[in-house]
Amino acid sequence: MKTSGFEQATVEVFSTRLKILILLAVVGFAALLLRLWLLQVVHGPAYRTQSENNRIHLQDIPPFRGMIFDRHGELLVDNRPSFDLFVVPEEIESRTSLARTMVRLVELDADALKEKLTGEAYRYGFRPMPIKRSLSREELALVEANLFNLSGVMIQVKPQRYYLRGDFASHIIGYLGEISEAQLNSGRYPDCKPGDLIGKYGVERMWQTRIQGTRGGQQVEVDAAGRKLAVLSRKPPTAGENLALTIDRKLQLVAERALSGKKGAIVAMNPMNGEILAMASAPSFDPNIFIEGIDKAEWMRLTTGKDSPLQNRAIQGQYPPGSVFKIVMALAGLEEGLINPEEEVFCDGAFHLGNHMFRCWRKQGHGRVNFHRALVESCDVYFYKLGKRLGVDKIAQYARMCGLGQSTGFELGSEKDGLIPSSQWKLKRFGVPWQPGETISTSIGQSFVLVTPIQMARLTGAIFNGGILYEPRVVKWVGKEGEESYRFAPKAAGKIKAKEEHLALIREALIGVVNEPRGTGSKSRIKDGTVAGKTGTAQVIALEKEKYFGKGEEIPPEYNDHAWFVALATAENPVLAVAVLVENGGHGGSAAAPIAGELIRAYFGEAPQGQVVARGISETR
């Protein structure tokens, strides 16, 4: 490095510029000091007053949550005004006396209130803290009358979720709950604050971000007692998007009434596109109770009670399919070429494998039965013999092709898969090889087989729609007046790859189940069209009941068989696929088929046949 004369010269040139820099720095800092002088000394006293009783509060204006409609535009969920009680911790004069007064005026847990008043809140002293949501009229009147000597107490009006029909479709609509610490930190709810109610279940949860809307707010100037003097600036909230379900209100009501007092599930869907028209699960719950704050006992009853009302049995209830499974067996037998439809098999009421005897449900036997009669009259022996020839792994292969043992892709998630056993599964799960006898009971939908009602409704529909397994959908559209941001479009999740003539044979048999004299599902007939169906009676305990309960002895209800019925209407024009399951209901033909019949009759109602067609396909809201 050298210091040339040239460099010396340029450093000299810098020195003038450095003088300019000094000037600029001094001027810049003088400007800052002038500004500070103005703020702190000239206008200081005004700011001091403002800070002494800091009068500018930030107030939330909560948005309207989107409304929920049924498929025809009938309002199901709305908002109504709620009067919420808040305290501003910094403005309280005496905490103990306030707590005493509050407990006298409104129904409150005194200890919880004390805890709230002394805890965390003091870190953000001017932030209003909710004490009680949705005051009753009486409480509101009492508090308002005493507001003048309750410093630090304020009432805010907020829109509150209101489920117009109580427990109507509650498993689909869902409910709201206070956002949890973990959810707040997860970053998935960027617009939420502590204390906000968010969707915790059902459509309310899945579509939370679309229907919640955007919060607004205002800067409010208040006086020492917390009274509002002026709104300084305001950002209006935006309402959330509305949402329409694919549910038909009338059909849903029929389904819920049919299940009242029972435990079970009903699914009714459009077999041509996967739209769910009704989905009922009993017992159910009223989502309104979650809004006003649910007490512990009630929460325990809902979540851990034996009846588990929060469970959506239509997608989460896993039951052995019983004889409904024979649809899968028939398909496997036909496709594998093991069934000659004309060939007759002799049923003497029992089937022997080794020294084990498997009974037909009809003790005296069916005599000689061909394929059609075997399915119509649900002859167990016919399917025992078929099952033995197929083997469990072939059965599993076809059951999976029919969409069993896996989720259907139901829109709201939380679905159970059910279970389709295979030899590999058994070895892995229990470490014991598959037993031939287990194949025999698998053939009539017992042993380890478990399915959900929604899987069965979809399968029934697929037999009649050419084999397409649609993803079940419950949301028809989402959006605001006039503009939809989402609209339902059918989505095929899979296809039953089978020869059309085989599907036709099964269809004929399912029609026979309902319409032939010896069919097991005659209780679901209607006047104006052909209904098809299949009964099922699923044993809760697979062993002979007589071993546990003496003959004639009363069997406790929880050991009664589950009753199944799957149905399709009409065979000429398939617009409705139904699955009914009644827990411990007994025989499918007598306990489940009549409910399906009721549903189908309600769907077709008094409408003449010409309009029936239009209604099934039309997209009217």
């Binding site: 703020l39 200081g44 403002q50 950002k235």
Partner: protein, 367 residues
Amino acid sequence: MFDRRLIQNFDWTLLLILLLIAAASVVNLYSATYAIKGAGGSQVFMKQIYWFLIGFAVLLGMTTFDYHQLERFAYPIYFFSVALLVIVLFLGDTRSGSQRWLSFAGVSFQPSELMKVSMVVALAKFFNDHAQVSEYRLRDLWQPFLLMSVPALLIIKEPDLGTALLLLIVSFSIILFAKMRWRSLFILIFVTVSSAPFLWMSLKAYQQKRILTFLNPELDPLGAGYHINQSKIAIGSGLLWGKGFLKGTQTRLHFLPEQHTDFVFSVLAEEWGFVGTFILLMLFLSLILWGISIARNSKDRFGALIAVGVVAIVFWQTVINVSMTTGLLPVVGIPLAMVSYGGSAILSTMIGMGLLMNISMRRFMFQ
């Protein structure tokens, strides 16, 4: 290499000014985080002390070599910093919506802070290599413009508009100092202004909205607008003598946003009044003027340019931050050097101060 004169020439004045600012910072930060008890408030305060200890060590470390050696490393250091900015876009931690931090062995670091110093050194190197007696024309300056726009764009991408802006302003200050032809400057301004409408139209609606709120906080009454209001109340209510240490009500009650980082000045102003803000600004002005005198006494172009660049960083950061908290400028998120909480910022400032010290100590040296 090591010379007795180096110790004789140690710049005690510079060290004293820095120690005073650091002391003010620690005391003020104690108050700013005092109310966040239980939420890591005291931790913040202790961390700042550790960062200062490390920072002063770094400052001393920066004096152990002759700054002329930096001429060889100026561009490698620059490219290293740019590489870190690229890495942060892929591997950086995202905090409150922007990706600014690189975590390494449990310590997070903002590469954009390092970039500021690297930029100064790189530009000093350029103008030292391309010394000319006549003024610079635009065609002479394409390299500096490239040097400053690449990191600026990377930082905008994070996004950290404030730091990017600061980087551009500091770079531009150095270019102007190196002397640009007036005509070139006007052409540049003309081109920028006339292309602005096209740039504006090429932005997406939400980007336009973000810039509009940035320029006019009133458009966001619940965010920036509210914060500015509260900050002005805090500063104004300090009056002449302040409310006293730990007695600032605005601070205690969390009316201030980011009160230990971007708005730390408001805390000081509330508790120490105009007297406090006057003293702090005088400390910063002394630092700046002392820095300019170091530039003047340095025996070469390279040293003078680095000193001017470091001074420019401190000057602009102070002016922008104070203007922002007093409502003169939009809230751009630029912290106050040394006074705001932040490890990367302290280290970056201390590296800069180390360079000043280095140049100052070698003012009598001849090669």
